[in-house]
Amino acid sequence: MSNDNIILPSAASLSTLSIADNPKSGFGYNPSLGPLSNTITPESSNILLNRKTLSLTPTSGNSIYDKNVNNKKINEINLSSLSFLFCEAVNWTHRNSKGIQDLETRLNGLGYQVGQRFLELIKLREGVKSSKREIKIIDILRFIHGTFWKSIFGKTANELEKSQDASNEYMIIDNVPLVSKFISIPKDYGNLNCSAFMAGIIEGALDSSSFHANVTAHSAPIDGVPLRTVFLIKFDEQLVIRESLRFN
C-alpha cells in the first residue's frame, strides 16, 4: 500500500492540538479508536470552546466602512465592482417588474433613497459653518450639477439647461452616465434607460431639499457620444409660484 492511500489518523491527544495544526491531522475520525473518537469528552469540549479562531473576513482598519464618515478625502471605489452590483440590481428589478415603465420606476425608487442619504452626507462633509441651504431653484440645480455630481460620480455633469417651452423644466446632461457606462439597451426594450437610477438620486436629493420634482432619464445620443443622457427635471408648479413670491 503506497503512502498516499493511508488515512491520516487523528492526533494522539486532543490537548496537543494547536491552531497551527493542519486540518488533516485535526479533529477527525480515528480508525484505531472507532466511534469513540467522535464522543465529546470534557477534554475535547474544553478545547472546542476555548480554541482560538482565525477570522477569515478581512476587517482591516482601512476599509471604507471603518473610516470616519466626515472625511474630506475622496474615497474611491472600483468601477467594476459598482458595475457588477448595478448589473445585478437591474436584473433583480427586471425580474420583479411588470414592464419597461415599471422597471424604470423601480430603478428610480432605488436611486431616490441613495439621493436622500447622500445629500445628508455631503452636507455633513461641507461642515456646519460653511454649508448653507439653497433656496433658489437655479442655485440648487448648480449644486446638484456641480458639487453633488462631483462627489458622487467623480466629475461634474456636462451641461445644465433650461427648457424653452416650460418654465418649470430643467435639464442636466451627462455624456457618459457612470452606472450605465457598459450597458447597451436591446432594441426590444424601447427607450428604456438604466440611468433612471441616477434620475432617482437627483429626485431624492431635490425632494430632501424641499424642491419637489419629477426626474426622468432620456437617451439623447449624438455623434461620437452614444450614451449621452438627458435628465429632465420637472419641478412642481407651486415651486415656481413660491420662487416668484419670494424673489420678485
Partner: protein
C-alpha cells in the same frame, strides 16, 4: 497586420459573436459561420491532445494513470494537473500565405479567434495578436459581462461592444 474578422465562441463551441471588420470580405451564410466555429472548436480540442514524441522518456514523465502516486505528488507540489509535456493550450495559430488565424482561450473557456492578413514582420505577429486579444478580452469583460441584458453563453448583441470592437480594429 490587418484584422479581417473576429469570432467569439462560448465554452460549448457555439458561435456567440462574429464581426467582419473588413467590408470587402464575402459574407457567408449564418449557418456556415456556425459550422466554421464548431469545426475550429473541435480542431482546438484535438490539438490539445497532441503531444510531441518524447525521446528517451522515463517512467516518471509518463502521462497520468500509470503511476498515481507520482502524479499525486506532482499535483500537490506544482498545482498543475498535467505534466509539462502535454500541450494544454490547444491550437494557437494557423499561418498561411493568404491569412493568419489566431486562437486565444480564456480560463473560463471562452475562445477568441482572430483572422488577420499575413504579417510582413514575422517576429512581431504573435506579439500583435496577443496584444489584440488582451484588448478584446478587456472589452468583452467590460461591455458584455457588465451588461444586465446579456445572458451567459448567448449571442452578443450589444451595440456598444460592436462599436468598441470597431474602434479596436481601427487601431490595429
Amino acid at each position: 497586420m490587418k484584422l479581417y474578422s473576429i469570432y467569439i465562441l462560448n465554452k460549448a463551441g457555439g458561435l456567440i459573436y462574429q464581426n467582419n471588420l473588413d467590408p470587402s470580405l464575402n459574407r457567408l451564410t449564418a449557418n456556415d459561420y456556425l459550422v466554421l466555429a464548431g469545426t475550429l472548436h473541435g480542431v482546438h480540442a484535438i490539438a490539445a491532445k497532441l503531444t510531441p514524441t518524447i525521446v528517451g522518456k522515463d517512467s516518471t514523465s509518463t502521462t497520468s494513470g500509470t503511476d498515481p502516486t507520482a502524479n499525486n505528488a506532482l499535483l500537490l507540489s506544482t498545482g498543475k494537473v498535467q505534466n509539462s509535456n502535454t500541450n494544454k493550450t490547444g491550437l494557437g495559430s494557423i499561418e498561411t500565405d493568404l491569412f493568419n488565424l489566431y486562437v486565444f482561450q480564456s480560463l473560463t473557456g471562452i475562445k477568441f479567434i482572430l483572422i488577420t492578413s499575413p504579417n510582413p514582420i514575422l517576429q512581431k505577429q504573435h506579439e500583435q495578436a496577443s496584444e489584440t486579444f488582451r484588448h478584446l478580452y478587456v472589452l468583452y469583460s467590460d461591455y458584455v459581462m457588465k451588461d444586465p441584458f446579456y445572458s451567459l453563453d448567448m449571442p452578443i448583441k450589444s451595440q456598444l461592444f460592436d462599436l468598441k470592437v470597431g474602434e479596436l480594429a481601427a487601431l490595429v
